[in-house]
Symmetry: C2
Subunit: 753 residues, 2 copies
């Protein structure tokens, strides 16, 4: 274009023909503009119109030439603020054009291409800060691994060595029968290594070390989860039901053989019609005084035992939970050892075993149904620690109340609610390790003129993964606390420990579900291929939110426990007035300490432990008091408690959730305080802050409703969450490295790019 004045139109032509968000409408706008410029001669107008004619588009070469000219302009004028600046430069500062600034700017507005954003597409940005962001380690991963492993480094290493052996290469066959046999073989190796019987008395070949047993299950969970569940069913459920519900005669008869896997066995509690409501199970165990036997019987098809691990293929015996009937009277749920198959694997008389068939996951575990048709067992096979039938044929028990005895029996099996969340967390750690390592390598999109950038550098990728990484660390320390409380338990504490176990089981398994979902999506198409293991991790842990107690039911148990504690700690609280008083007091106490607290947004305050703890405790207490108040009101109003608890059921879940959030935070803070190594302490501090703030962000609706925080604060918190994610990202790979998962277990090709 010889007429330099007209060159002012170049950028407009380029954008209107090439930007993918502009449409024909913009072409018309530009045409109209040209038409309106009376300072152009007819010939000039004709020349320009030719460039905006939909019937005669410019050639590809013309477009490329325009682009080159515009880029030259930007090179010469790096401080250019908008398209007009470039137009002026291209028009060689022609006064006519300069004088038309407002006219051109108005056109840019109409075209939606005003301002700096429009010209940024012509700049090349090789070193945007998103591009240069990368992994850099600020701490020694070995030191962090030590914090995570605690006192269990030796047993953890021992297990890792075993599961890294060539014979533990993952099974690839989709034939569930092949898979089940492989899992049994692996289980036998673990039994031979004396890992299965780790918690049993030494007298019976065990290690008398339940703490190590937990560490074994957790470490095994970096490997195949079918193996973990098979192992847990055999040594945890079958073996420990004998250990905790039986007496010496049972230990003598069975424990050693259970521990060596000589007798594969089952834990037959759940029935088709009764899962969560264990008290309602219908299998009967009828006492026969003449022959000193019990008859185990399934009264109707839907009372069959269902989902029983180890039943469909391998199990030779089972601890069967059944209602004890003596002379037509029901003595509640008790436990009995019942043989299922002979040594050759043939099902015994009266026993019918079905196969649950293919499942979403855990297909290496042979779950089955069991129906008992008047199966007779000797009297001494009643597991009689908490209840028995005496020589006179009468029921006896140190715990007379059926209700109390039932919960005490179940309470002895609380270990399962420690093992399962720890297993889920290992799976979550595996998923995060794969997703974060992949995100650090996988490049997609980049700045104009620059290389593509690792996806872990993107805000959304960080927001999806890094708070969950922080939560994983929180849950690790929370579960360490639960484990220690369990190991140091006294009788008086059992109720509290059972509540924490039920709660953490739910909290951690739901979180693992969310974590693995994000990991799959974060890994895109690769995450869908079974070779990258997120398939198995997700599908195997899917049932964890249901077995060992359905999470929603467990959370209600936790809430009821918290309500009982609440009722006990507030004297003179019978009247609604009193409840209201306490409720309001709880709400104002902290806030009165700092009237500006609701709006404080400086970073030091937002990162402060006390601010976090106060917020979590406030939420816990107010939700609890509010739920207590609600229930009281409903029941006083005439509702029976069953209906009242249903009406307020969602509040029960909130009570439990808020309690568990506070527990997790408390333990995270305590762990960081005790950490000595500076580098480790620093990174854990960041994670702890991110956990606290992301949980607050998630619950900001509640905090705003209660007036505990106001908008400036919650908005500042979201910004800080983003900032912490950004900062922690540089340590994300070392942080998952610290989980120290064996390569052969991780196995996913995308984690090894």
């Amino acid at each position: 274009m010889e007429n330099t004045k007209l060159k002012a139109f170049l950028p407009l032509f380029y954008i209107v023909w090439s930007d993918d968000l502009l449409t024909q409408k913009e072409l018309s706008t530009l045409k109209q503009f040209i038409d309106d410029q009376t300072w152009l001669s007819q010939q000039e107008q004709k020349q320009l119109m030719a460039k905006v004619d939909i019937a005669t588009p410019p050639s590809r070469q013309q477009i490329a030439e325009w682009k080159t000219e515009i880029e030259a302009g930007l090179q010469a004028l790096p401080e250019a603020k908008d398209i007009f600046d470039i137009s002026v430069w291209l028009a060689e500062n022609d006064k006519t054009i300069i004088d038309l600034e407002s006219v051109f700017t108005n056109l840019e507005l109409n075209l939606g291409i005003a301002g700096e954003e429009a010209i940024s597409q012509f700049k090349t940005f090789e070193n945007t800060f998103t591009s240069v962001h990368h992994t850099a380690s600020s701490f020694d991963t070995q030191k962090l691994t030590q914090v995570l492993d605690g006192e269990y480094a030796d047993i953890i290493k021992r297990v890792k060595d075993v599961i890294s052996r060539p014979e533990f290469a993952y099974e690839t066959s989709t034939d569930i029968h092949v898979y089940r046999e492989k899992v049994l073989q692996w289980c036998q190796i673990l039994a031979d290594e004396n890992l299965g019987n780790m918690a049993y008395p030494k007298k019976y070949g065990g290690g008398e070390n339940i703490a190590d047993y937990f560490a074994i299950m957790e470490t095994l969970s970096y490997h195949d989860l079918s193996l973990v569940i098979k192992f847990g069913v055999q040594f945890g459920l079958w073996g420990m039901s004998v250990m905790f519900l039986g007496t010496e005669k049972h230990y003598k008869k069975y424990l050693k053989a259970i521990g060596s896997l000589e007798i594969p066995g089952c834990f037959a509690m759940t029935e088709t019609n009764h899962g969560s409501n264990v008290k309602g199970i219908e299998t009967t165990a009828t006492y026969n005084h003449e022959n000193q036997t019990f008859t185990i019987h399934t009264p109707h098809p839907k009372a069959q035992k269902e989902y029983i691990g180890n039943a469909a293929a391998h199990g030779r015996m089972a601890t069967v939970f059944a209602k004890l009937m003596i002379d037509g009277k029901d003595y509640g749920v008790n436990a009995f050892v019942v043989p299922l198959r002979d040594k050759k694997g043939k099902t015994l008389k009266g026993i019918t075993i079905g196969d649950c068939g293919h499942k979403m996951g855990l297909n290496g575990v042979d779950n089955g149904t069991i129906v008992f048709d008047n199966v007779v067992i000797p009297k001494e096979d009643m597991l009689d620690r908490f209840a028995s039938v005496n020589e006179a044929g009468e029921f006896e028990s140190p715990i007379p109340s059926d209700n109390r005895r039932f919960f005490t029996m179940l309470g002895t099996l609380v270990g399962g609610r420690i093992g399962i969340p720890r297993s889920a967390l290992s799976a979550a750690k595996s998923g995060l390790t794969i997703a974060i390592r992949y995100g650090d390598q996988r490049r997609q999109f980049g700045p104009e003129g620059g290389s593509e950038v690792p996806i872990l550098n993107y805000r959304m990728h960080q927001r999806r993964l890094i708070p969950l990484l922080a939560k994983t660390y929180a849950m690790h320390f929370g579960l360490q606390y639960l484990t220690n409380r369990f190991l140091q338990r006294t009788e008086a504490e059992m109720q509290e420990i059972e509540a924490i176990a039920a709660g953490m089981k739910s909290y951690v398994t739901w979180s693992a579900r969310d974590i693995l979902q994000e990991c799959r999506e974060a890994c895109g198409g690769k995450g869908y291929l079974s070779e990258n293991r997120i398939d198995a991790l997700k599908n195997d842990t899917e049932i964890y939110t249901t077995f060992e107690g359905d999470n929603t039911v467990l959370m209600q148990l936790v809430a009821k426990s918290r309500l009982a504690e609440f009722r006990k700690s507030f004297e003179n609280m019978d009247k609604m007035g009193m409840l209201n008083y306490v409720y309001e007091q709880t709400k104002t106490v902290i806030m009165q300490k700092n009237p500006m607290a609701t709006r404080k947004t400086d970073e030091a305050h937002l990162l402060d432990d006390t601010f976090h703890r106060n917020a979590f405790e406030y939420r816990e207490k107010v939700i609890l008091a509010s739920a207590a108040k609600r229930l009281r009101k409903l029941i006083d109003g005439g509702l029976d408690s069953y209906d009242a608890f249903n009406v307020a059921q969602h509040q029960m879940i909130d009570v439990a959730q808020a309690y568990l959030d506070r527990l997790m935070l408390e333990q995270f803070q305590a762990t960081v305080t005790q950490t000595e190594d500076e580098g480790t302490k620093n990174i854990l501090t960041k994670l702890k802050q991110l956990f606290a703030l992301s949980q607050i962000e998630k619950n900001k609706g509640w905090f705003l409703e209660e007036g505990y925080m106001e908008a400036p604060k919650t908005k500042a918190i979201r910004k800080l969450v983003n900032q912490l994610c950004w900062e922690i990202r540089t340590d994300a790979v070392p942080l998952v490295q610290s989980f120290d998962i064996p390569d052969s277990c991780l196995s996913a090709p995308i984690a090894f790019l």
Copy 2:
């Protein structure tokens, strides 16, 4: 106990020995209490102490007797308000006891058994309102089915008849090779029924009816999703890439054979290193002028085509997307037809096909990798609708801009972003049908003395499933809208339609993911068994959030489109001041109309369409203006746009989310308005209200932050959500019945109890 005075202690003894939440501590408290009662004689004290001695617990019979006496008391005194009232009655109104009311009440407080709640455990409530809640239909399901099916009832029925045939019984083999062959056979049957080519020109054997094609894919999605994807790859991607990117010569050569499945084929776009960033693909198509050919080549291993459906086993040809190179110049992404295998199934020279192997789901689809080693194709196999090489060997295109042409090409394939969400929704409907029917039958727990109750009667079960049922209806109508916009599209609208398609694809596939997760958990252990189909529904749709555009990337595309619209509609908006002005204006306009709006909580207002629409629109506009403001500030501050969009990436997602929420609501409201049948209109109204309110509840943090609502309002909304869930529950089974999914497709035993 002869001393009636002492009978006042009976209830305390009973509770302390049998309640599962009381501990030894309470026994001590009771002992201390007895000790403190100086009005008791020594002998009386001794008698009582004997009942609270941990060493000599009462017998089971004794506990049962105590319970009987207490229940007798309650029968006699139905208005009893607490334990003390029963104690007084048991003590036959002894004056000593009556005078000690405050003392006894204090004890109850210390034990945590004060008030009505403590005695409710002794009452039997056979007809609690939770127990009597049940299914009752308030509308004619056939009429609702008509609303859902719209004008497509005929084609829908036709497809249902086909997929209900015995040969369409689900494949149970876990051998992926067997499964793949079955899917191919099914696909052939569908092709023979002229269902595959429904959208192709009649000239080439088709039905020229893309609307019916969409209905076919949606209805097929009640059956096996591997079949749906195989079908979609063959007839949608492979066939339509030829139809929309090719010209007459290609139609003549290929369309009929594609439609009959004579030529199974692939859509080879994605590469290992380039998924979302399609522009970056590296496969080359180099033009050879002498022999009038193109050479297709994979320059390095990670440029291989990956996840290509139909490739690993059956595909004979593929539309291959590659960079067109002419004389060393890059003309961007173009499409070419490339043969892969001969008629016998043997891979052709230069072609290497790998198998992606086992996946999380969709194992009936043979996804594979393709590497091209200098594969030569004739010039006429370039799909030349939008670009071609002329006789002189020069590049030609009606769209000169590479960028614009690329997006136009992709835009022709927008149908996939309609088919996929509609397919996902069918899967979600299947899951909800199974879960809701099961929840209506499955009974667990119940009131004291009453039968167990269907789990769908529980608040949490309702909160988890029923809002999602409402959302499913919302999305159905939203997708009807998208489909109609697409069918009636004009060139000028394409950009908007593509944005809606990208957005709804993300919105619906993410929602389907959440719905199926809740369905699995709501079905407990049964939900984990593959026979109940939630396994397949979840795992097959898992990849829907990634393919056809990664959801997070698509949402950013939607946001950019919204931002472009925003910039165009606000004149004189170049200055920050102006942006601020518009932002504030947007915020105050609606609120000024009703200054009390933030606190209004009456039901009529909360259920009102206008309140809902205002809230959704407010959120959409403010989030959009806020994002525009933020970006402008970042870029004016010197940040290049790539970094600016990364910093504000989470806000981009919010922009898209708020926009889509509003679209969905709008369409739901419009549909209800047009519904004539009263019963149908009523139930849809409830669902619409629940959708609106549960989305507001979910976003309450944002509304509170913005001061658009205050706590009394958001709390009232949560209550109303619960209430609506409760009311809709009685229609839940008919509502899923209205999806009219064939029994043979549903197939899950738990849906047929």
